[in-house]
Symmetry: none
DNA sequence: AATGAATGAGTGTTCATTCAT
DNA sequence: AATGAATGAACACTCATTCAT
């Protein structure tokens, strides 16, 4: 994990908040600097450009997320279903009502250096894919294309977190989302 | 369905293409005008501002989509599963490699008039929800919260269309997506 | 006197009002057309350009004024003092609280065709100058440069009408202005 | 007196020159910036908008004028007539052939913040009014409404400076204007 | 004659980026 | 390292003018 200096972190935190709240072009670097309590020029000591800052925000967010989710796959004795459940629940709880984080799950880059950033997304998919494949291995799951399913999961969670239905409590949503995913993966008892 | 004049349509088509390809602030109105073969001032005869044009693009896109999908729910003798399959397939085929259309499924608006536009998204969810509910009614499906499932479906499709796995052919993807959704909804045979 | 068609008059009236109320660049021809109830293109049937319309407004205003004032100089048996009094009173009463008319007395044009319009101002000055000279001739007035005094008079009136002191009634103002001008012109009794 | 920074002064000087020479809408901010040797963006560090710059120009001009004229009223042992003569002469000499300064004497504001600007005009009138009142006090002058006379004086001077008669030399004009004003104010010897 | 939809040159304003301090 | 005044390229938007009807 990359280490961020104090100032750098403050900038990233501020920028994350603002990029999540407003579209890119409405986020002014002068505002970022002011809110982060640094000089406007200071931004350029840490980030090459506005685009660069934007990517750094997304990148850091993604890295933190993936890092956190990885833990669940390393818990001794947890089944793939348990792991998936934990992952889905964790993502929803961390991102619901936190547009800043939910947004980044679905950002599509129209930008040159999006390659580097694309890698991070793939990292998340790979994590999920390996859990699914472990489940298949263990006979718990069946899935003709774990790669695709792995891709569906974050997108479902993103949608939930961006547009959380107002009259359903978070716990119910978590359960429903877990059930939705797991039921799709569950291996049907072989018709005897 | 709102009717668009000839020039208005040309502008919307052009703008849709450009907003889908580049981030908002890289889309120049002068380019839109040039490509649409109208004067720059003409844009302002039909749209109050760049933002307004942007919303009009999203709004029209959504309207067209919903209108098209509605047809599948009106086919005589088609089961809810069939309808869902058709809808999923239709959306994927229409949007894959057409970022312009896929993007709009997930746009979150940070703008004042986003209310009006939210309605359109809800219209899509409602359409799907009623298909699911019909399936529950007929005993085909079971779902503790069709509202949520209805929301998942477009998000899954959006993800597919924005990041289509390169080494999987479209047909396979369609089938996988349909299967994923339907398996989750299918009522399990009551354990005898 | 030039004759104006019905539509032309409506346009001039509207434009006069608007040019008096707002600076040139805030007056939109589309507004003029709308308020005058004519098509925007119609303006161009009568006036070559916005500048042209502007000059026409000033020109007509000046012409009307000069025409009206001329009458006072033609009254049989009226002394130059009487004539001046009438002129000053007439101008004040016609222009006080009518910025549109007062404004034009002091408009300076930076435009090419301002010459033609300047002539009209000179016409006003000449009118006044000849009254003053008549007074000198008759021994009533003395003035080392009637040309200058003639120029002062409209400027005094303009100031009154643009910035009418709120707590002084119009009659008092008229009397004061007349007295101010006449006292300056009056021939002092030759020190015997 | 407000203090202006170096750059601010350069901008104001340039803008004053240009606004005096051309109508508002023909003055381009890019020209102002170029002539003042600053970046176009720099204008906006000091002035909120083109309108704002315009007002700043007029305001500063008026402030300087009033400040300068005040001096004459503070000269030890000078009579009100002397003071008035000095004021009239000073204004004419400073403004004749300097449209920039003459213009501002008569600007009527069609703008929102004209209140603040109205104050400045009143400041000039008050200055003149108090000189006149001092003359009345000392028995030199008589005037039934010094407030009005104070208003006439700048307007007369403005007219002179905007439309200076070409074939009369400045000295003659000054003398005539002084005489015109003073004769009107002079207390007539009581008819013995 | 009369219109107003269409135009595009022209301009005010913004804002990412730089650099002297 | 840190700053923020200064910059100017870039862009949205306006509005006088035209012309097909």
């Amino acid at each position: 994990m990359k280490k961020y200096s104090d100032k750098e972190s403050r900038i990233l935190d501020t920028a994350a908040e603002m990029f999540a709240t407003q579209p890119f072009h409405k986020v002014l670097l002068s505002d970022v600097a002011r809110v982060a309590s640094v000089g406007k020029g200071t931004l350029y000591l840490y980030f090459k450009s506005k685009d660069d800052l934007y990517f750094a925000v997304l990148f850091r967010g993604f890295s933190i997320l993936v890092e956190r989710l990885k833990k669940y796959t390393e818990v001794e004795g947890s089944s793939p279903s348990d792991q998936l459940r934990c992952i889905v629940r964790d993502m929803i709880l961390h991102m619901i009502n936190k547009a800043s984080n939910a947004q980044l799950l679905g950002k599509v880059m129209h930008y040159p250096n999006s390659g580097e950033w694309q890698e991070k997304r793939v990292e998340l998919w790979s994590l999920l894919q390996s859990v699914i494949e472990a489940g298949i291995e263990s006979g718990e799951f069946e899935d003709s294309c774990p790669r695709l399913t792995a891709q569906y999961i974050p997108s479902v969670i993103r949608s939930i977190c961006l547009f959380p239905p107002e009259n359903i409590d978070t716990e119910t949503i978590c359960n429903h989302a877990c059930a939705f995913v797991l039921k799709s993966l569950k291996k049907n008892a072989p018709s005897a």
